[in-house]
Amino acid sequence: MSDPGIIFERDLLRRRRERAAATFADFDFLNREVAERLIDRLRDIRRNFPAVLDLGSHDGTLGRLLGPEFGVERVVSTDLAEGFARRAPAPALAVDEEALPFADASFDAVFSCLSLHWVNDLPGALIQARRSLRPDGLFLGAMLGGETLIELREALMAAEMAAAGGASPRVSPFAEVRDAGALLQRAGFALPVADADTVTVTYENAWGLMRDLRGMGETNVVAERHRQPTRRDVLFRAAEIYQQRHAGADGRIPATFQVLYLTGWAPAPGQPKPLAPGSAEASLATLVGRDDG
């Protein structure tokens, strides 16, 4: 890959996801957890969303949680991997988030649970998601953020430095929360909000974590990687370093997954808008109840 805009090899990702699809039920704990958190957020929004797009649906975990409670009549499931689309609630189709096949204004909401961190052209994907929304439609997405797998990344980096005197990217570069808000705005969403929380999972050792990452289809697909897979001895060393640095009293190691939540609305007349800077009619001192100025 010589195209500088390509960070992730989508072909490779698709193959990984196809492989993961068959046994995903054994590895979907993170997906289920984050889907529940998205549902909690949806409860706070108190709106009806008859037609929904589940973007990057995996096997449809999120889609199955959407029902009459949210006025949902119809969920279209989509995934880059045909194997996932086939397992998700119908109607389902295989799509690339970077080239969506939907007419403008097709949906009342677009939801996405843990897929958008693999998209190369995230602004482009968000713009297309926004266009597929009707006016005042909701985009709500969760993706892995920059703090994700920080322990594993540091351990691999240290092991690689020791073995080869240099390090290469091993775990995908993830977006930061401050980037995410700006991205939503650039993609034309009204009332954009980005925030983050973390899910910490403990493992007996780094091998358990790596097995789970494979099962989730989430292993490194960074284009700028070595031609050879990571050397066995480097992996062993990294697992040791991980254990030494992070093991708790019970000997288990934590793995941090940072989840970014992106919320935005398709613009519509009558939506609340932020006031222009400098347009306030009362001073801040008045607003906070101070009159001693």
């Binding site: 109607p91 189709l93 295989a94 799509v95 080239a99 096949p101 939907f102 007419a103």
Partner: protein, 76 residues
């Protein structure tokens, strides 16, 4: 661990595949040109004449990936 193959078929292969959801057809467009698609029921394909691509439908699941599409000038 059951089927780890690239191609997973949960329904029997009857050649033509299931019908595509008609309401889905209403909102589908070509992922490249965003132009409407033509549904070729017999070939079980969604055809983008502008892009010169035919997207396969496998067991009722439209595969809207450019890499998987058939070039229209190919022999059928």
């Amino acid at each position: 661990m059951q089927d780890t193959d690239q191609q997973v078929h949960e329904e029997p292969q009857d050649g033509s595949g299931r019908e595509v959801d008609p309401k889905l057809l209403e909102i589908l467009v070509c992922p490249l040109t965003k132009a409407p698609l033509r549904y070729d029921r017999e070939a079980s394909e969604l055809v983008s004449d502008q892009a010169g691509l035919a997207f396969p439908i496998r067991n009722g699941v439209p595969i809207m990936l450019v890499d998987e599409a058939r070039q229209l000038d190919d022999t059928k």
